[in-house]
């Protein structure tokens, strides 16, 4: 190896190693958080394809800002914030498609249990109706309630993602549930 080749290798090798390490980091993030991000996206879009698009877009943004990966303290909160902004942007832009209409998506979202198919569909319709009522809640309360539905997220993480305090999130969730219960009473829940 000549002197020039040695110098070149010394220049290129760290850059190459860096790229490999960021690729590995991103792959790890995908493996660890893609399902949680999908659920966050699905809570807003209520559509499987759109939720998946949002998750892919999230990781594309991560790739674009891969140089900042080392500065991130909490990946989960960071990623949730990105996907949250993406789905809210999409929702703002495309108000054409009403949410909660795709029953197939709801049926797919339901965990497969021992219920018969018709019971599942009825339940799915009922859930769709409740989700439509959730959409009538004020923004802050609705956001907190939807994120609280995602299993992987704690109240602290929700607070960090929405840029507020944990106590504020708790009170928002409480208010949202109370408001939702009032709406359900008005509408009359099926018995």
């Amino acid at each position: 190896m000549s002197c020039f080749e040695g110098q070149l290798a010394a220049w290129v090798a760290p850059a190459h190693q860096k790229t490999v390490s960021t690729t590995q980091t991103i792959a790890t993030l995908v493996a660890e958080y893609s399902t949680a991000l999908y659920r966050v996206a699905f809570s807003v879009t209520r559509n499987a394809a759109e939720a998946e698009d949002a998750v892919q877009e999230t990781f594309l943004r991560v790739l674009r800002h891969e140089s900042r990966l080392g500065e991130i303290r909490d990946y989960r909160v960071w990623l949730v914030r990105i996907v949250w902004n993406i789905v809210l942007d999409k929702k703002r832009r495309a108000k054409t498609r009403p949410e909660g209409e795709d029953l197939a998506d709801h049926a797919r979202a339901l965990p497969s249990g021992d219920r018969p198919a018709d019971a599942s569909v009825i339940s799915s319709q009922e859930h769709a109706r409740i989700l439509a009522l959730i959409d009538r809640l004020p923004n802050r309360e609705r956001e907190a309630l939807l994120l609280s539905a995602v299993e992987e997220l704690t109240t602290v993480e929700i607070a960090a993602a929405l840029g507020t305090t944990e106590s504020s999130i708790r009170s928002r969730i409480f208010r949202a549930r109370r408001e939702l219960a009032l709406l359900l009473e008005k509408e009359g829940i099926p018995r």
Partner: protein, 172 residues
């Protein structure tokens, strides 16, 4: 009876809400989501690497030393400002030391185009106009002693009261 129904109703509503939230909170993506994401990321990375860099030096700087582009721009503009100010100051000092600039001499044309507007001589003092033969001061009528006198032969306009002519006796 109604009060007894309320807690039951509340718990039922709460359960319904929980179930609905669980339906979205535990949604599972279609299988192979991770693979699809990784494939898309790989193709995006290839695109990014094949795309030409517009400012390779700046991009290299940014990537290696993590100097933000704004800071780099700010430092450059500060340097340029210092160079401009220093150049201007040194230029003016050089001029000041080498020559003393005299005030410009204004040459006024005495004739020709522009002479009238350029020169404004003082207007000659006007000579006193000689008084005519019949000229008199405005107050000459009253310059005499005592009251004004009305000539006895003067006419009065009809209807105008005229004081009787004063006689020397009455004055005395």
């Amino acid at each position: 009876m109604n009060n007894a129904m309320e807690p039951e109703n509340d718990s039922r509503i709460s359960t319904t809400i929980d179930e609905a939230l669980q339906s979205i909170g535990s949604a599972t993506p279609t299988s192979g989501l991770e693979g699809r994401i990784l494939t898309r990321l790989a193709s995006q990375r290839m695109k990014m690497e094949s795309a030409p860099v517009r400012f390779p030096l700046l991009a290299g700087l940014n990537r290696s030393s993590r100097i933000p582009a704004r800071a780099l721009g700010f430092v450059t503009s500060c340097l340029l400002a210092v160079i401009v100010v220093a150049g201007s100051v040194s230029h003016s000092r050089k001029l000041h030391s080498s020559q003393i600039v005299a005030p410009p001499v204004l040459v006024l044309p005495s004739h020709g185009i522009g002479a009238a507007s350029a020169v404004h001589p003082a207007a000659p003092a006007s000579a006193p106009v000689p008084a005519g033969q019949g000229a008199r001061g405005r107050s000459s009528r009253r310059s005499g002693p005592g009251r004004a006198r009305i000539a006895p032969h003067s006419r009065k306009a009809p209807g105008v009261a005229v004081p009787a002519p004063a006689s020397d006796n009455s004055q005395n």
